[in-house]
């Protein structure tokens, strides 16, 4: 690879040369305009010299730039236009030199038009080069927010992308591929396949490279890619060789992906999760692998505000769960509840997730309305006169997690209905006629259900 190293050596002079034509050519054009502004009799001899210097240095910049581009560290599309616009610029600069040598033989219109064209080319080319080296956000990254908004660029400096839920995040596409794109693909793509490895497509990754399998599903030791990215950094085989080593989190994510079978399609929820990877996924991708409560997974449009205002008029206290969660937390206090008021709740039945009718005069039969509250996760009926009959209306609430019945008239027979509630995790039965032996039997039979009978 001596030739490649030498060409890279030449290529790195690109940033050194690249500023010279910008200076020379702009100087030449400004001088010319200054003279015409002053209506000078004789044209300065310096102008064509500056054009020549500009053209020569542009050629040097283009030459070194060509080799720098060949290192494969730049994005193909952007590089293409930067490269050929640069070469065009060299030609234009030489033509300009020829034009300015005999200014009298060309029209003023041609002269100025040419100047403007060169200025435009210089700024576009310069900007493209800057974007290639520093990234497209370099200029605007620290701009005041108001300017950023006007320019329509987002200011996501330090914020990591928050991905969706484990169901919607595809491990390879959303987590692994972005790492490959930023750290590997410049040298392992359709055109440049260093070591015979092309990482641009899932099938070509699976083919591996000259050194064998890059990714061996479920087998870290056999995965050449994993070996390379975890070698000591001074090792000649360490990847990537560009001082752009993978971070701890990136390595851990790749390790998790390979060791769990290296699927290219599966969502995160299909992967086995151990405790070590959880904090990494949370920190690096905002991906919370802990199961979410039901009320955080429901997507629903906010309830109609007139309906809510109506409930408040009836004496309910109504709160939305959070600024971005339109589900409702509703509570009634007092002894003047009526069946009509409960019926009024049906207007927002899909929005209610927490409901408290504790210490009210609610009657068992009124609960029939509640049987259709599909998103209800917490229901408080403690210290009311609810009986087994009331509980029977609730048996179809499949997302109910917590049911508070302490201090009510329920008995052992309510447990039949309680068992039917699929999602129920905690039921409070302190101070009821439910016997501790029966409760014990049931919680042993039904996994995940805790029956809280309290002390004495």
């Amino acid at each position: 690879m001596i030739a490649l190293e030498f060409s890279t050596f030449l290529g790195r002079f690109h940033p050194l040369f690249v500023h010279l034509p910008i200076g020379f050519l702009i100087l030449a054009i400004l001088l010319e305009w200054l003279e015409s502004f002053r209506k000078a009799e004789t044209k300065s001899k310096l102008i064509p010299i500056a054009w020549l210097l500009g053209a020569i240095s542009a050629a040097a910049a283009a030459f070194s730039g060509w080799w720098l581009g060949e290192t494969g560290l730049y994005e193909e599309d952007m590089l293409f236009s930067h490269r050929w616009l640069g070469i065009a610029l060299v030609l234009f600069a030489f033509i300009g030199w020829w034009l300015k040598k005999n200014p009298k033989s060309h029209s003023k219109f041609l002269q100025n038009g040419f100047n403007i064209a060169i200025l435009l080319m210089l700024s576009i080319e310069g900007h493209k080069g800057g974007n290639l080296t520093h990234g497209e956000t370099y200029l605007t990254e620290y701009a005041p927010e108001s300017i950023q908004e006007i320019l329509g660029v987002s200011a996501d400096k330090d914020t990591l992308t928050i991905l969706g839920t484990p169901d919607s995040v595809l491990v390879f596409k959303d987590l692994i591929q972005p790492i490959f794109k930023s750290k590997c693909i410049a040298c392992h793509n359709n055109k440049v396949k260093r070591g015979g490895l092309n990482m641009a497509h899932t099938d070509s990754i699976q083919l591996g490279g000259d050194g064998g399998l890059a990714i061996a599903p479920g087998n870290l030791e056999e995965s050449e890619l994993f070996r390379r990215i975890t070698l000591p950094q001074k090792n000649i085989k360490f990847m990537p060789p560009t001082n752009n080593a993978l971070t701890y989190d990136e390595i851990k994510t790749i390790e998790w992906w390979i060791s769990k079978g290296a699927s290219y399609e599966d969502a995160a929820s299909k992967f086995a999760v151990d405790e070590n990877i959880k904090p990494v996924l949370l920190r690096r991708f905002g991906l919370d692998m802990n199961p979410k409560p039901w009320y955080e997974t429901v997507t629903i449009a906010p309830a109609d505000s007139t309906k809510i205002a109506n409930l408040i008029k009836l004496g309910f206290s109504v709160n939305t769960l959070g600024a971005t969660n339109p589900l409702l937390d509703i509570k009634y206090t007092g002894k003047d509840l009526t069946e009509e008021k409960i019926k009024a709740l049906e207007e927002v039945k899909n929005h209610i997730t927490w409901l408290s009718l504790a210490r009210t005069n609610v009657e068992s039969d009124w609960l029939s309305s509640i049987s259709g509250f599909t998103n209800l996760t917490r229901l408080q009926l403690e210290n009311t006169s609810i009986s087994d009959n009331g509980v029977s209306y609730l048996s179809g609430l499949s997302h109910l997690e917590s049911l508070n019945l302490y201090g009510t008239n329920v008995t052992d027979s309510s447990l039949v209905d309680i068992q039917k509630m699929n999602g129920l995790k905690r039921v409070y039965l302190w101070g009821t006629k439910v016997k501790s032996e029966t409760a014990k039997n049931i919680s042993e039979n039904k996994e995940g259900l805790e029956i809280i009978l309290g002390e004495g």
Partner: protein, 487 residues
């Protein structure tokens, strides 16, 4: 156009903000998105009818609706209660190695000692529950409920003396003048019960020792209706609440109505927001004339309850009685209930003094958590137990086989929590074998505060108040949510 604004008591800064900048912001906003200016945000309508906090809605769904914070003022010795370090018993009496002590500054009380003799605990440690949490025999009742608790053994703070440390824990700053946690909660989230204050403070009576000032429940620069209201034991639970002899409720109401009108005129005239705060407080006091006696009248509590909380609970003003009160307040949706119990500052005579402290608190703490659980209240209530710092692993003063003392130690201590939104039967973090430094997962006071706010549905970085030219928040510019303990 009204042209009398010059009479109002605006500061120069307020005036400029409200006029020039205000107009500027208005035009800027309409420039960026003209629809924004006129859009009627439906969410806001819900908020205005809701709890009345400045946030309207929590930033995200709140796992915790109310907090009972059992503050053990004076700093309980973690080494004799939770943090089991057998090495200290092995090295009993030896000088604390310099390598362990590091650069830690000591208080003036033990920095002059010729040696810092290591003092192992004299209490028996055992593992308890399914979670296997270590606890000494000082707290037999709490030991029975460890599977409900979440311990953080790697708390640390910067303050080395009581007042700055308590102030730091309660307000996020060692210097006085910032709002306390309860005030921030009240300011941000508002009330769930219009008849009681959002933030109530209960202090065990006749306990002395270390200073405990009302600034720990002060509102700082927040509007003053957000300060904690202390409920006392005895005839007047809230001072100056009852009508004077000869004044009945009706005339008090009339008086307040007229006062309201006068204050409103005054406010129209000078525009000072503190006038509104004062008006809100008068109204709250009036409503509390009926709600407070109802809270304090514990006749409806059963004998079983008193038995559970311990005999002390029948005596008003004790920690146990305050725990029952805390539960009653929580049942009525008071958002932040701060219980203080002083007397944990055992510089000398630790073995005897800590026994008394534990006897006063252990049973009631455990009973409160058990009671909340059986009532289903741990679904949305959080209980916090902890002091302002820890105590040293060496003896302050003379070390004898059955007596020693421990100095203040900010570098590590233990707190525990129970209830909504956090893991049960869980221990986070660890200290080194000397119990002197944090060895695993340090948790700073600001991290604790950030976590508390997170559980209440508040992003601690987004609840701010502009004062003296900058935006302040509880955690100042620090604090990370301790995600490991979230359920």
């Amino acid at each position: 156009m009204c042209t009398h604004n010059h009479k109002k008591n605006y500061s120069r800064r307020d005036f400029l903000t409200k006029t020039s900048l205000g107009m500027g912001a208005l035009s800027m906003a309409s420039m960026l998105d003209p629809m924004d200016l006129f859009s009627n945000n439906k969410q806001n309508l819900v908020n205005s009818l809701g709890s009345g906090g400045v946030l309207g809605n929590p930033h995200f769904p709140a796992k915790v609706k109310r907090v009972i914070y059992l503050f053990q003022s004076g700093a309980p010795s973690q080494l004799d209660l939770f943090d089991y370090k057998p090495l200290l018993n092995k090295m009993q009496g030896q000088d604390l190695p310099k390598s362990v002590q590091g650069e830690q500054r000591l208080t003036g009380m033990s920095s002059g000692q010729a040696t810092l003799p290591i003092a192992g605990t004299i209490f028996d440690f055992k593992q308890h529950g399914d979670s296997g949490a270590w606890m000494s025999n000082l707290m037999p009742h709490t030991a029975k409920i460890v599977d409900e608790l979440c311990f953080i053994k790697s708390m640390y703070t910067e303050a080395i003396n009581h007042d700055p440390a308590v102030t730091f824990f309660q307000t996020g700053s060692q210097l006085p003048g910032r709002p306390s946690i309860g005030s921030w909660v009240s300011y941000g989230l508002g009330t769930d019960n219009k008849n009681l204050p959002e933030f109530v403070v209960l202090v065990t009576k006749d306990k002395f020792g270390q200073p405990l000032y009302s600034k720990a429940w002060g509102n700082g620069f927040l509007p003053s209706q957000h300060q904690g209201v202390q409920f006392r034991s005895g005839k007047d639970p809230v001072l100056y609440l009852t009508n004077p002899p000869g004044i009945d409720g009706k005339s008090r109401r009339e008086q307040l109505n007229h006062l309201q009108k006068l204050e409103q005129l005054n406010h129209n005239d000078v525009g000072d927001p503190e006038i509104l705060a004062r008006m809100a407080q008068y109204e709250m006091a009036f409503r509390m004339q009926t709600s407070v006696p109802e809270i304090m009248d514990t006749k409806d509590e059963s004998d079983a309850t008193y038995e559970m909380y311990g005999e002390d609970s029948r005596k008003p003003g004790t920690y146990a009685a305050n725990c029952i009160l805390a539960r009653r307040l929580a049942e009525r949706d008071v958002k932040f209930i701060q219980v203080y119990h002083q007397g944990w500052d055992q510089h000398g005579n630790l073995p005897n003094a800590i026994k008394i402290q534990c006897k006063e608190t252990d049973q009631a703490t455990a009973a409160l958590i058990t009671d909340l659980k059986q009532r289903g209240m741990l679904e949305d209530t959080l209980v916090v137990w902890g002091g302002e710092f820890g105590r040293t692993n060496y003896s302050q003063g003379k070390l004898t086989p059955d007596n020693f003392g421990r100095d203040h130690h900010p570098k590590c201590f233990t707190i525990f929590m129970a209830g909504a939104g956090i893991k049960k039967g869980f221990t986070l973090g660890a200290t080194d074998d000397f119990g002197y430094n944090v060895a695993q997962r340090p948790v700073h006071v600001h991290d604790f505060q950030a976590t508390l706010m997170h559980l209440l549905g508040v992003d601690h970085e987004r609840l701010t108040f502009k004062f003296q030219g900058r935006r302040y928040r509880l955690t100042d510019v620090h604090g990370d949510v301790v995600k490991e303990i979230l359920a």
